[in-house]
Symmetry: C2
Subunit: 414 residues, 2 copies
C-alpha cells in the first residue's frame, strides 16, 4: 500500500446552484447560463475564500462531455480567465465519464505530492440541459463501450444498464425489501436536499416521497426494474475546491481549522470492454473502497459521513455493500433501519447526493469533496451533521460509467 508522502488539505469549497428540472426557476425554453459561466462562478467563489490567490500553483478541471453538450473542449485554458494568477501556470482537464470530478481531485493531489505544486484549484463542471433528454442519453452513452454496447442498447442507455443491475439484485436477494429500500434512498435524498438551497430538489414539496418512489416500474413507459425516481436528473452546475500542502495552506492564507485533511486518495479502473461478472455487485467500487480504507487505516465502522455516487438508487445500495457497511444483499435492512439517515450512525449524502443535490456529471466528484470539507470544518449550515470522535472519517465514492472509473477519498478534521 502506497502512503501519502506528505499531508494534503482541502479548503475553500464552493458550489453553484445545481440547476435543471426540479428547480422552481428552471424552464426548458428560458435561456440559461453556459458552461463558462459555471466554471467562473465556482472558481471565483472558491478563490475569494483565500487571502492570497497568487499562491495557487496549478489548476485542474474535471469535465465529462462539454465537447458534445457545449461544443467546447480545452476547459483548462478557461482557468486563467477565472483566476488571472493561474496565467502561464499548469492547468489541465481530466476525464473519466461521471468520475471526472474525482479524477480532477486525484490530479491535484498528485501535483501536490510531486512537489510541483503547493496549492491547486480544482473545478468540476457539466452543463447538460443544452439538449433534449433522449439526445443526452446518447451523449452519456460515451461513458460506456459505445461501439459494442450502444447499437443494441436501450434508448435510455445508462438507466437501462442499472435497471438490469436492479433486476439481477431482485433475483438474487428479493424484490420487495429492495424496492422499499430504494424508495427510502430516494426519500432521504429529497429530505436532505430540502435543507440545501443549492440543491436541484430544494424546492421539492412532495408530502410523501416514500410513496412516490414506490411507483411500479413500467418497461413500456420507461424501464423494467426502475422508475424515474430511481434516477438522478439532468443537471447543470459546477463545484470548486482548493487542495494544498501544509505550506500551501499557509501561503494561501487559509487557517488549518478552515481545512480538512486527506487521509486517503484512491483510484481504481475497471475494463470498459467487459460486462460485470455479477451485476448484483460493484467490483471496482469494492476495490477502491478497500484501497481507500487501507490507506486511511480505517474500517467501515470508523465512517461518520459518506458521500456515495447514487446516479441511481440501486447504485447507492450496491455501494453500501461494496464499502462493507452492509453485507452482500443486506443494504435494504441497513437503510430501512435508518442507519444512513441525516441523524443516523453514518449519514449518507447529507446534502442530497446525486438524486437530491443534482448530478452535473463532471462536477460531482469535486462537489463530494467540497461537501466533506464543509462538514468537517463545521460550515455545512442547515446540512451540518455531527461527526464525533467515534466515527471521525468522511468518505466519498465517485463513479464513472458502469463501475469503471472509481475514485475514493477519506477525509478527517484537522
Amino acid at each position: 500500500m502506497k502512503k501519502l508522502r506528505k499531508k494534503i488539505f482541502g479548503c475553500a469549497p464552493a458550489h453553484t446552484v445545481f440547476f435543471g428540472p426540479g428547480r422552481k426557476e428552471f424552464h426548458p425554453k428560458k435561456p440559461r447560463p453556459g458552461i463558462e459561466h459555471y466554471i467562473l462562478e465556482a472558481a471565483k467563489d472558491s478563490v475569494a475564500q483565500v487571502k492570497n490567490p497568487g499562491a495557487l500553483d496549478q489548476g485542474v478541471v474535471g469535465n465529462f462531455m462539454a465537447a458534445r453538450f457545449n461544443r467546447q473542449a480545452h476547459l483548462g485554458a478557461l482557468l486563467p480567465e477565472a483566476c488571472g494568477e493561474l496565467l502561464h501556470k499548469p492547468c489541465m482537464r481530466v476525464e473519466g465519464a461521471c468520475g471526472s470530478g474525482g479524477l480532477a481531485v486525484i490530479a491535484a493531489a498528485n501535483a501536490i505530492l510531486s512537489d510541483m505544486a503547493d496549492a491547486v484549484l480544482v473545478v468540476g463542471v457539466e452543463v447538460q440541459n443544452t439538449v433534449k433528454a433522449m439526445y443526452g442519453a446518447d451523449i452519456l452513452a460515451g461513458a460506456g463501450h459505445y461501439s459494442r454496447q450502444r447499437k443494441d442498447g436501450h434508448v435510455y442507455f445508462f438507466p437501462d444498464l442499472f435497471s438490469r443491475r436492479a433486476g439481477a439484485y431482485y433475483e438474487k436477494y428479493g424484490r420487495e425489501d429492495t424496492r422499499r429500500a430504494m424508495a427510502e434512498w430516494y426519500a432521504q435524498a429529497i429530505e436532505n436536499a430540502r435543507r440545501n438551497p443549492k440543491a436541484q430538489e430544494f424546492h421539492n414539496a412532495d408530502p410523501d416521497p416514500r410513496a412516490t418512489a414506490m411507483t411500479e416500474p413500467n418497461a413500456k413507459a420507461f424501464l423494467e426494474h426502475i422508475n424515474v425516481f430511481d434516477c438522478s436528473k439532468v443537471s447543470d452546475g459546477a463545484s470548486a475546491v482548493i487542495l494544498a500542502s501544509e505550506e500551501g495552506l499557509a501561503n494561501l492564507g487559509v487557517a488549518k481549522s478552515d481545512a480538512a485533511e486527506f487521509a486517503a486518495v484512491a483510484q481504481c479502473e475497471g475494463n470498459l470492454a467487459r460486462d460485470p461478472e455479477d451485476p448484483a455487485r460493484l467490483d471496482t467500487t469494492a476495490a477502491v473502497a478497500s484501497k481507500a480504507l487501507a490507506m486511511a487505516g480505517a474500517k467501515p465502522s470508523d465512517l461518520g459521513l459518506l458521500e456515495v455516487h447514487d446516479c441511481f438508487t440501486i447504485t447507492g445500495l450496491l455501494a453500501l455493500e461494496a464499502i462493507g457497511l452492509a453485507e452482500p444483499g443486506r443494504a435494504a435492512p441497513y437503510l430501512l433501519d435508518g442507519k444512513a439517515r441525516f441523524d443516523g450512525e453514518c449519514p449518507v449524502n447529507a446534502t442530497g447526493g446525486l438524486i437530491g443535490f443534482g448530478h452535473p456529471t463532471g462536477a460531482t466528484g469535486v462537489r463530494q469533496v467540497g461537501d466533506m470539507v464543509m462538514q468537517l470544518t463545521g460550515k455545512a449550515l442547515d446540512c451540518q451533521v455531527k461527526i464525533g470522535d467515534a466515527r471521525p472519517y468522511a468518505m466519498s465514492i465517485n463513479m464513472g460509467g458502469d463501475d469503471k472509473t472509481l475514485v475514493s477519498f477519506v477525509l478527517r478534521a484537522t
Copy 2:
C-alpha cells in the same frame, strides 16, 4: 523554480502508422480501424517491450475529441483491456486540445514524482478521419473559445487563426523570406518523413516539395496567408511510452540504456478567452520553453534535437523564436541556413513532425516523447540523428489551441 524531486525515465516507445490522406493505402471510402484498435495497438506494442508488465502502476490516455469524432469518451477505462495488469489500478484520460498528449506525459510524471507510482503507461490517440474535413474543422474549433470565436469564424477555423498569425508576421518582418522559410519547413518535413515508414507522408514522392510549398495562398479557395502545404493534415494514430522511476525501470526489467532521462517537465496555460497581444509571437510557448530550459539548466545552444508542434509551418517558425534559437523575426534565415535540417546543428522534427509524420491530435505530445527516447537510445533507425556531447539535450514543445496549452520536455541520454 521547482526541481524534479526524483529521476524520471522514458522507455518502451511505440507508434502506430499515422494514417490518413497521403498514405498509399488510405482511401476515404474504405473501412478503417477505430479508436480502440489504435489504443490497443500502441499500448500492446509498448508493453511488449518490458519484461514485467505487472510493474505498471498506472495508466494515462491523452485524447482531445474522441467524444465527437468517435462518440467515445472514458478512454482511460480501455487501458485495462489493452494491458490486463492495469485492472483496478488508477487510469485517467487528460485533455488540453492538441496538447492532450503532452498533458498525459505530465500526469504520468506527476504520478511518479508523487510516489504513488513507479511506472506509468501513457497512450496518446486520435482518430479523426471519421468525418469530412469541414465538419472536422468545427469539431476542432472546440480547442478555441467556441462561444466567442466560432460564430464569425472562418469555416476552416484553426487554419484561419494561424493564417492571420502568418499575415501579422509578414507585416512585421517581411513576406518573401518568410514564405521561403515556410516552404523550407514543409520540404524538410517531407524529406524527414520519407525516412519514417510510419509517417503519413512516407509515400510522398513530390520531386520538388520546396517549389510545391511556394504555391501562392488564395483567400478565395482557402486562406489569405497560408496554403494547404502549410497545414498538417487530418490523421488517425496512437503513440505510447512508459514513464518510470529508477526503481520502476528495474521492476519493469528495462535496462537504463534503453531509457532516456527527463531533465525537465514543464507546462504553461494561456487564457482561452483572450486573443494574443502580438500575433507574430507565441507568448505561452516562450513561457514554457524558458521554464523547461531553466529546470534542465540548459540554454538553447545546448539543444541537439528539437520536436516542435508544427500544426502549421508558421507555428514552427514562431516556436524557434519562442524557444530562443532564433531572435524575433529571424526564424527565416535560421531555417534557410539549414540549421534545423536532419544534418543541421539542431535537427528539428527528425521523424517528420506534425506535417510529415502526421498529427493525430491527442497522440502528438506522446509521439514527440517517444521519438526523443528512440533518438537518445539510438533506436531511431533511418531517422537516427547524431546527438553529441556539445548539444546533449532533446526538447519538445506540444501545443493545444492557439498558444494556450503548452507542454515542454527536455530529455537526455542516460
